[in-house]
Structures are given as C-alpha cells and as structure tokens.
Amino acid sequence: MSNKAIPVLATLSAIGLVVTLWLVFTYAPFEPVLLFNQKIFYWHVPHAFMLFLATTICGVSSLVFLKKRTPKWDDLALATAEIAVVFGAAVLITGSIWAKAAWDIWWSWEKRLTMSLLLWLALVGYVLVRRFAGASADRLAAGLAVFGTLGIPFIYTMVDKSDRHPQAGSGGNVMTLTGPMKLVFWMSVLTFFLWFLTLVMMRVQSAAGERELRELREKGLDAGVLS
C-alpha cells in the first residue's frame, strides 16, 4: 500500500460525501411509507456493509497471521478491527434513530440490528484485548477474531430464527430499490467504501510504523545503544 494513494482516496471520498449528501436530499425521492425518515438509510446501510466487510477481512487476516506469523497480516487485522468498531458504532446509532422513526422505539431486537450489535461487541472485545493483554495480545486477539468470524453464520441463523420484526418499509430492503434511490444508494456505498479504504490504509501504515519502531528499539537495547 503506497503513500500516494491515501490523499487521492481521501479526496475522492470527500467529494463523494458532498455529492452523495446533496443527491440524498435533492435527487432521491421520498420513500412512500417512511418519507423523510428513510434518508438515514443511505448512511446506515453502507456503514453496515463496511462493518461486515471489515469484520471478514479482520477474521481472514487474523487466521493467516496465526498460521503464517507474518506481522503485516496482523497490522491489517488490527486496522480493520479498529475501523470496524467506528463504523459499527455508526451503524448502531443510525439504526437506533431509524428504529425510533419506524417503530417509535429506540432499541428493538430487530435481526440485522441485533447481528450488528453482536459483531460489534466481538470487535470491541478485540480492541480491548489488543490494548490490555500485554505480550500475547496479538495472538489472543487474532484467535478472538477467527472464532468471532466463524460464529457469524451461527449468529445469522440464530437471529434469523428468533426474529419476528417487520421490515421498516420497502426502503429498508436493498433488493427492492429502484431508479434514483438505487443509484444514490450505491453511490453512497462507493463513497463509504473509499473512505473505509483510506482509513484502513492509514491505520495499516501507522501500525506498521509502530511495529518497526518497537523492533528498532529492541535492536537498540540489544546492541547497548539505547538504555
């Protein structure tokens, strides 16, 4: 991952954010049931997509790290986990606002919201372990990520089986989107994907930097240059 791509991606996502916001409020029509409230969908769902993408990347790169012990995979896992926590928080907050608008209740155990919450809890656990588990933090966190990812299909089945909630209007389902709504939605997804990519690349860079600094310091200590 090169340095030069970061500013370009950041600029693109900034432009995308402005354009998408403008389109959301001027171009996309009102959804027939939820009307104006449905606008939050253009933020909520892309964030959820990024949450799932980040979790999957984190799980897979953790597994590769455990198997191969190449630190750069660990950097990637750390970066995606931390960013997934932020995106997940956005999913939960926007989801809660949407639930208030659609069902007049701040938190309901709606299946996708429940699933996001459970994933998010595992990710917060990952970050906590990373910070407080000392020398074996990377391995422990990687194990947590691997098992957490393994659990996703189980959580999905479980939540799907025990949920009785209605869809929040037709605008709540990506598959039923048409015309301008569909276009704006996918533009929003693209924007947040670029933003996600920017953040991940920056975090990977800083994680690699931290690691190099630590290794250099250890080398210095071994050589007696540092004390």
Binding site: L63, L66, K67, R69, L118, L121, A122, G125, L128, V129, F132, A133, G134, A135, S136, R139, L140, A142, G143, L144, V146, F147, G148, L150, G151, F154, I155, T157, M158, K161, S162
Partner: protein
C-alpha cells in the same frame, strides 16, 4: 490413537487433582447455589414468570460459574509454571489441548448438574420435565464452553489482567451457544413442550460445537506457542 490415549491421560491428571482437592466443584456448587438464591429473591416467584425466565437464569448461571471454574482450572497450571512442563512433555500438543478441553468439559457439566436442580428447587421450576434432552443440551453447552475456553485460557495464563479478559474474549464468541441453549431449554420446559424446536436448537448446538472444535484443533497450536 496414541494422541487420544495421551489426551485422556492429561484429562485424568486434571480430574484427579480436582477429585483430591474438590476445590472447584465445591466452590462452584456453592457459587451456583448462591446465584439460585439471589435469583429467587430478586424475581417474583409466579409460576408462569419462572417458567419464562428460568432458561435464561440457568444459562447465565452456567456462563458465570463456568468462566470462574475455567479460570481457576488453568490457574493451577500457572502456580508452579506447570503449563510449560505440560507443553514440553513428549506428547503432541494436540493431546494437551484435548486433555484440557475434556477435563474442563467435565467440570462445566458438573457445574451445570449442580445449578439445574438447585434452580428447580428454589424457584420451583419445571426443569426436569424432559430430563434426557435437557442433559444433552447441557453437555453440548459444556463442550462448547470448554473448547473455546481451553484455546484461550492457556494463552491468557501469562497475561496480568487474565481474569477480566477471559470473559471479554469468551462471551462474544459464545453468544450463539448461550442463546441456542436458552431456546432449547425454553422449548423443553414450556407448558406445551415443543420437541421440534428443542431438537432444532440441539442440532444447532451440535454443529456449533463441531465447527468450534475443528477450528480450535486447527489454530490452538499457533496460539499457545511461547
């Protein structure tokens, strides 16, 4: 098959220590009893309410008591740094892991076997309406907890804040197990028992355990390397 025989030997070693001191079983049984008493004092003892709430109570009790027991079982290996000796022993690491997981599974099952009658007694809960499937649910739950627990507890031994981090790691991973266990228990003790639903969740637990065990066998070695 020597892997399994050696695993059995490691498990038997752990269980023999426990049989001699009975530390974990006694303290966990007491703890489970306390939880049951606290439950019966904090919730209204109306039969229909108890029936609705007791599956959750049972699994929360198992989760708490199981985590404490698990931490204690691994603490034993820390006190004289015997975990290192165990890992250096001329047997496959696989046997060490399996042996640990088996002994923990037995312990957690014992904890569940204590919790269940106590809850049934204090809350007058109909937990023994269908005892055999319920026992199966509890054993499957214990296997799942022991499996994931053994993968992480061994690595956590060296970590200062291990007591706090063990639940931080285990609970997010084990949520599907606890929920499935609760649903299965609920279906078994309902006024009109729903065996189809119960067996669906028992199957779910079985597949969850199998997937977890395969994953642990695959990665535990990368986790415990010193």
């Amino acid at each position: 098959m020597s892997v399994l025989r050696q695993a059995a030997r490691v498990a038997w070693k752990d269980l023999r220590i426990e049989l001699r001191s009975r530390e974990i079983v006694y303290t966990m049984a007491f703890f489970a009893g306390l939880i049951a008493v606290i439950y019966s004092m904090s919730f209204p003892a109306k039969p229909d309410l108890v029936r609705a709430a007791v599956p959750g109570m049972l699994w929360v009790a198992i989760a708490f008591a199981g985590t404490i027991g698990l931490g204690r079982a691994f603490d034993r290996e820390r006190e004289n740094d015997t975990m290192r000796a165990l890992l250096l022993a001329p047997i496959p690491r696989l046997s060490v892991f399996l042996g640990k997981a088996i002994s923990i599974a037995v312990l957690v099952t014992a904890v569940a076997a204590v919790c269940t009658p106590l809850l049934a007694l204090f809350l007058d809960a109909p937990l023994f309406a269908d005892p055999l499937p319920l026992a199966l649910v509890l054993v499957l739950g214990a296997i799942g907890i022991a499996n994931v627990g053994s993968v992480f507890a061994a690595t956590l031994l060296k970590v200062r804040s291990r007591d706090v981090l063990l639940p931080v790691i285990l609970y997010p991973i084990l949520i599907p197990l606890f929920v499935a266990g609760t649903h299965a228990t609920e279906a078994l003790i309902a006024v009109v028992p729903d065996p189809d639903k119960a067996w669906y969740w028992i199957g779910f637990l079985g597949i969850y355990d199998a997937a977890g065990v395969v994953m642990s066998l695959w990665i535990f070695e990368s986790l415990v390397i010193e």
